[in-house]
């Protein structure tokens, strides 16, 4: 299987092309929004205003393309890498900042947002996505659950169990593997013998698709088809989005310790953002003025988000023992009093 692609590296569009110019423009806005958030978040982290932050530079199209394929009412079940997908699903920038600031104020998302919190223990979210997907059927809902995992995570047992459960129960779930070449320092070739992760779908009796993860049109298209199949009761799909982790694993990581400085140089030419812009320009619907206006708008959104996040109340020690059970236990109550006194 060769990765499906609709936008060439120079921005040339395949014919037929799956997205309307309006959709492509919307996708571009979200991709730029994601890029700007990521770059500025990393800066905030360097200034000590975020805790550990996992950047996703180079993977914006894989995340945003998949997220845009969801309808309102669908669910996102992300790993730590998917801030871009969460933003595209409606998580506000200020909430995302507070989340990565590790501030309790950021960890309660709005009640109407069907986005689960970021998951740290690798691959554990996948099983939850299957359960969330199935839960709709019992409630007369036709929602779909979209979940993400990395190439490294595909080695975990939960990856297998989730695909098997989803297949057996024909759960309306779509799983996107962002094959970004690295699991911290371990390259994909040390992770698996067959580098085509989508091939594994056959083993579960479900469709597997491989797509150029740096091509927003391709990711959006295959995810949209998978979501439609899921909603129609035709079961789950495994999508492998081939992409590249351009930056460090997290803000604490130094890739210089395990890969050469020019590793992945070829991927810079495949940058999802500039490729998309070239496609829009080819359509005649984008120019420097629009670009400038968009960048200014997003810069203001980010600045406002920082102001909002900075205005959040300071975390208080007793919050540590709150929200363990619905009703506080006597032990927790005693601890709460101790912590409140500081």
């Amino acid at each position: 299987m060769e990765p499906l692609r609709f936008i060439a590296e120079d921005g040339a569009r395949a014919d037929p092309f799956p997205l309307s110019p309006e959709e492509l423009t919307r996708g571009y806005r979200e991709v730029v929004r994601a890029r700007v958030f990521d770059e500025r978040a990393l800066t905030l982290q360097r200034q000590g205003k975020l805790s550990v932050y996992p950047p996703y530079k180079g993977q914006e199209a894989a995340q945003v393309g998949a997220a845009l394929a969801l309808d309102p009412g669908d669910w996102l079940v992300p790993s730590y890498r998917e801030t871009a997908a969460a933003l595209a699903c409606g998580l506000s920038m200020s909430q995302a900042i507070l989340y990565w600031r590790a501030d309790p104020a950021g960890w309660r998302y709005p009640d109407d947002l069907r986005v689960l919190p970021f998951y740290i223990p690798i691959a554990t979210q996948l099983l939850h996505a299957v359960g969330v997907a199935s839960a709709g059927r019992y409630q007369g809902e036709d929602w779909v659950a979209l979940t993400f995992i990395g190439d490294g995570g595909s080695s975990e047992g939960d990856f297998h169990e989730a695909l098997n459960f989803a297949a057996v129960f024909q759960a309306p779930m779509v799983m996107v593997v962002q094959n970004n070449g690295w699991a911290i320092s371990v390259p994909t070739e040390k992770q698996m013998r067959n580098p085509r992760i989508a091939d594994r779908a056959a083993g579960y009796g479900i469709p597997g698709v491989v797509v150029d993860g740096n091509d927003l049109a391709a990711v959006w298209h295959v995810t949209r088809e998978a979501v439609a199949r899921a909603r129609a009761g035709e079961g789950p799909t495994l999508i492998e989005a081939v992409t590249y982790r351009v930056g460090p694993h997290t803000s604490s990581d130094d890739p210089g310790r395990y890969r050469s400085a020019d590793a992945g140089a070829a991927w810079l030419a495949r940058d999802p953002v500039s490729r998309l812009r070239a496609a829009l320009e080819g359509l005649g619907v984008w120019d420097d003025a629009r670009e400038e206006a968009l960048r200014a708008e997003i810069a203001e959104e980010f600045a406002a988000a920082v102001r909002e996040a900075d205005a959040a109340p300071e975390p208080e020690p007793q919050q540590i023992v709150e929200q363990v059970f619905e009703t506080m236990t006597p032990d927790a109550r005693a601890a709460w009093e101790v912590l409140r006194r500081g």
Binding site: D111, T124, L127, V130, A135, D158, E322, Q323, F325
Partner: protein
């Protein structure tokens, strides 16, 4: 006849089945699933429930414990009330990642936005000559998971009321059922719906000479020991914890303050077992009322033996409990 209590004699298996039936009947969000659950389960706990409530609500899963627990967490996050069965507590270990990493953390990490009202049932413990691995008692591991309740009933009537309370609880509950008790006792169980409060220990037998603190399959062992002691004029108080987490310290301390002597009885491996927590709490909170050191009677520091002929030397019995009682009374 209107005054006749509406009860029926039931084994613990039947009482759990009855509780599940009531829960499935009254709440459409309740789902029951696990390995072989559809045909009734290896202990026949879910007998007849698939036929009555349908294959969508009572169903078999693939044979994967992490999958069972993780799938259930997802169902609970999105509005269902899953009741998962792990076939034996000794086969829970593949699911421990889901239990320790997620089950009890969701309310905390989303500050109450998402909760996991899920019950995980598992038969546990020894005494019936099961093969290797089948007799484990991993309750202490589970009490190390914050945000998870751990309930272990000791008789059919209490099992039904506690299980219904667990299913209706807004937080995740582990519900361990002593295999030894599954069919060994029959007791009157009220029909229909009733609940017993979680988080409360109970005085299973009142006495003043010493306190036996125990739970689950060891309650009958301690009651037997208390009967024997009573014949010699020694009245032992037996506290049945029922809920290990959250721990009802008040009931335990009230008893120990009264008797001044405590023996903690559990069948899991002694070191790091839940009885160690009980003993530590007694030391922290009421050491001044103690007339003797707190003793523990528990499984030996070895794997639960798969050797049928000598298995009964592992699991505490009334004789070992009484030996410890004699020691604390002599002190």
């Amino acid at each position: 006849m209107a005054d006749a209590p509406d009860t029926r004699p039931m084994t613990l298996v039947q009482a759990v089945n009855d509780a599940l039936d009531v829960a499935l009947s009254q709440d459409p969000r309740v789902l029951l699933f696990g390995e072989d659950v559809g045909m009734g389960g290896v202990f026949r706990v879910s007998d007849g429930l698939q036929g009555k409530h349908g294959e969508a609500r009572v169903f078999d899963t693939p044979l994967a414990e992490a999958g069972i627990v993780g799938y259930g967490i997802g169902l609970a996050l999105a509005g269902m009330r899953p009741v998962a069965e792990i076939q034996f507590a000794g086969f829970l270990y593949p699911a421990l990642d889901q239990v320790l990493s997620h089950l009890g953390r969701y309310r905390h990490r989303t500050r109450g936005r998402f909760t996991v009202p899920m019950v995980i049932r598992a038969p546990y413990g020894g005494g019936v000559h099961t093969p290797e691995q089948h007799a484990d008692s991993p309750e202490a591991v589970l009490t190390q998971a914050p945000g998870v309740k751990v309930v272990i009933p000791s008789d059919p009537m209490r099992a039904k009321g506690l299980l219904l309370a667990a299913i209706e609880d807004p937080d995740p509950v582990f519900f361990l059922e002593a295999i030894k008790l599954y069919r060994s006792v029959k007791a009157e169980v009220p029909s229909g719906h009733y609940t017993l409060e979680l988080g409360r220990a109970r005085v299973a037998r009142a006495g003043d000479a010493a306190t036996l603190v125990t739970y689950g399959g060891m309650v009958e062992v301690c009651l037997k020991a208390a009967e024997v002691a009573a014949r010699e004029g020694v009245e032992l108080e037996v506290i049945d914890l029922e809920t290990l987490a959250p721990f009802d310290a008040a009931t335990v301390m009230a008893s120990v303050e009264k008797t001044g002597r405590a023996v903690v009885v559990y069948e899991a491996r002694k070191i790091g077992g839940f009885g160690a927590e009980v003993a530590a709490r007694i030391a922290e909170e009421t050491v001044w009322s103690l007339q003797a050191p707190v003793l523990r009677v528990a499984g030996w520091d070895a794997p639960y033996p798969p050797f049928s002929a000598i298995e009964h030397h592992y699991r505490p019995d009334a004789r070992r409990v009484l030996e410890a009682v004699r020691k604390v009374l002599a002190a």
